[in-house]
Amino acid sequence: MNQPSSPQTPARPAGPGPATAFHPWDDPDAVPLIRFRGVTKRFGDFTAIDAVDLDIYPREFFALLGPSGCGKTTLMRMLAGFESPSVGAITLEGRDIVHVPPHKRAVNMMFQSYALFPHLTVEQNIAFGLKRSGMEKDAIEARVAEMLRMVQLQKFAARKPHQISGGQRQRVALARALAKAPKLLLLDEPLGALDKKLRQQTQFELVDIQERTGTTFVIVTHDQEEAMTVASRIAVMNEGKIAQVDTPGRIYESPASVYVADFVGDVNLIEGNARPVGQGMAEIRWREGVPAIRGQAAEPLVEGERATLAIRPEKIAISRERPEGRNNVVQGRVHDIAYLGNISTYHVRLPDGVIVQAQVANQRRIARRDFTWEDEVWLSWSDTAGVVLMR
């Protein structure tokens, strides 16, 4: 699994200005732009999308995150109109769009393969959709020029797609999809082909463009860092179902299930018998003869149920002495150290063989590290650092 995103990943406000907090999903009066109700899609006897309910609000930057084959592209294609659901309804601004063909939807898609027309120049590619909409010639020219400026490709207007670089092609695809000012822009793994540096830079460009144009973006990715960086909300998908929809911060800090906790970032999972201890807290008895460990209960639970404590490595402190005044303390031996430059991950083996990861920022040079292999160490974390999950 990837190195976890920094824990302080902010729930970036995607609203018009930084001053106003943007969370229409908490507002009962907000009207969603897109609404999935009981949507199921079957290919033969294979169910690709399974009874999905989903609301996406105007101006959101919504990310679909999930492993390969979980149905992200299928969900997008239903929004674009290339597939229709086997069961259920999809509405755009309150109107059922299931039977609206792709060319009549105010939805544009940026294809994973970019799908630029090889026989047309960059300019003609961007103008393609505008010409179909019966716009005036002057207006088309102005709009194309504006789009070229936005993606900084003025110099390449007359080139054919095979005469520009991969990153430039991707920007042309973005400009083409945005040119018609769609209500909804779908991006299917738009940055898949780019290297890491260019990718990060483009992520910020995307966010910037999304904020300036006020378009609602739905982005597919299987890179959780990318979803964390750009999205106002993330839907984590699993085998055609939505496992959780939430802000990046909450997906990371308060996962609803073991699946989500495990899929997004690194996590230590400790299983045991749960017992509620009041105030939304629960403790887990995970081994005979050692004190129970505590965390915040994700949902109300019954004493004796099996549950899992999920705790992020960076929330675990590591020390040589037993820390005072903490409930969650375990002892172990350093089994392995992974040095990642800015941080180090200590793999600590508990007496029963369980490995727990603890992450420490490398404030000192590597030679001055406090712990080394086979050291006896104590791991500890606060009561609210971990979550107790029932699923």
């Binding site: 674009a80 109109g81 290339f82 063909p101 792709p102 060319h103 939805v107 544009n108 898609m109 294809f111 393969s113 799908a115 630029l116 027309f117 090889p118 026989h119 393609f128 959709g129 179909r132 909409s133 095979h162 083409r176 999809a177 018609k180």
Partner: protein
């Protein structure tokens, strides 16, 4: 190593030299000679034993008389023109019929495509001559076509020995040459492009005209040349299916060689035909090169 590379390059050139340039040189030489009642039926013949003076003498006897003759009798240029016209019309009809076939093949389920491809090539497994003769059986006045029409209570039609029969023959014979290149461009085409076009506001029909058709142009051009070039010089089809009024240069060429036994004029006809075809052949090569990019 160098020798191997050399022989690899030399082989196709040797092939070209032996099977194209040498025969062409011979035909060119005959076209510059004069008609004679002898064997072979032209003079002069090259006699290398005579040394330099004989060669110089031989060269001095060559002239462009036969080419001048071609311009004097309007039969020839009319035949050239008529051949080009018939070939062009036939090519166009082949395109109109071949494109939908290629399109349907490319759209067919993957697992069917090899079978369909084989069906297109299948006619090549029987002799071309037999297939043309079969058309005589279909098109003649008592043929299957008129039998069927009679059975349906319709008037019989005269098709055999008209230009229509020639068009049918050419279209039928050369259809695979049109279908295959178009199919190969369509089959390579990324389906995402069609979806992108629809996403940007094209109906499926518009998407076809604006994306599919322009992108299959190289295949259409290749197919048209592959049909047009051999059709211009076609001899068997016009002489078996065409009538007395069907004027094609291939037929004229045949008659010059075998009826008039005027080898020099026949050779001149052949050389001019080749020169006419060089233009489309060069254009064809250009098209292929562009496609390679």
């Amino acid at each position: 190593m160098d020798f191997r590379r050399f022989s690899l390059i030399a082989l196709p050139y040797a092939w070209l030299l032996l099977l194209f340039l040498v025969p062409f040189g011979i035909v060119l030489k005959i076209s510059l000679s004069d008609y004679a009642l002898s064997i072979p039926p032209y003079t002069p013949t090259l006699d290398l034993t005579g040394g330099w003076p004989a060669i110089r003498d031989f060269l001095s006897q060559l002239d462009f008389e036969n080419y001048v003759f071609l311009t004097e009798d309007d039969l020839y240029w009319k035949a050239y023109l008529s051949s080009v016209r018939i070939a062009a019309i036939a090519t166009f009809i082949t395109l109109l019929i071949g494109y939908p076939i290629a399109y349907a093949m490319a759209k067919a389920p993957r697992e069917w495509q090899p079978t369909l491809l084989m069906l297109v090539i299948l006619p090549f497994w029987t002799s071309f001559l037999i297939r043309v003769y079969a058309w005589i059986g279909i098109l003649s006045s008592e043929g299957y076509l008129n039998q069927t029409l009679g059975f349906l209570g319709l008037e019989p039609v005269t098709v055999l020995n008209t230009n229509i029969a020639v068009y049918i023959g050419i279209v039928y014979t050369y259809l695979p040459f049109m279908v295959l290149p178009i199919y190969s461009t369509l089959e390579k085409m990324d389906y995402d492009l069609i979806e992108a076009a629809q996403d940007l506001g094209c109906t499926p029909t518009e998407a076809f005209w604006r994306v599919t058709l322009p992108l299959s142009r190289p295949g259409m051009i290749a197919g048209c040349f592959l049909v047009f070039i051999p059709a211009v010089g076609e001899f068997v089809i016009p002489s078996l299916l065409g009538g007395s009024q069907t004027l094609m240069i291939g037929k004229v060429l045949w008659e010059e060689f075998f009826n008039n036994r005027d080898w020099p004029v026949a050779s001149a006809v052949a050389v001019v035909l080749l020169l006419i075809l060089v233009i489309p052949i060069v254009l064809f090569q250009k098209n292929q090169e562009k496609q390679q990019e």
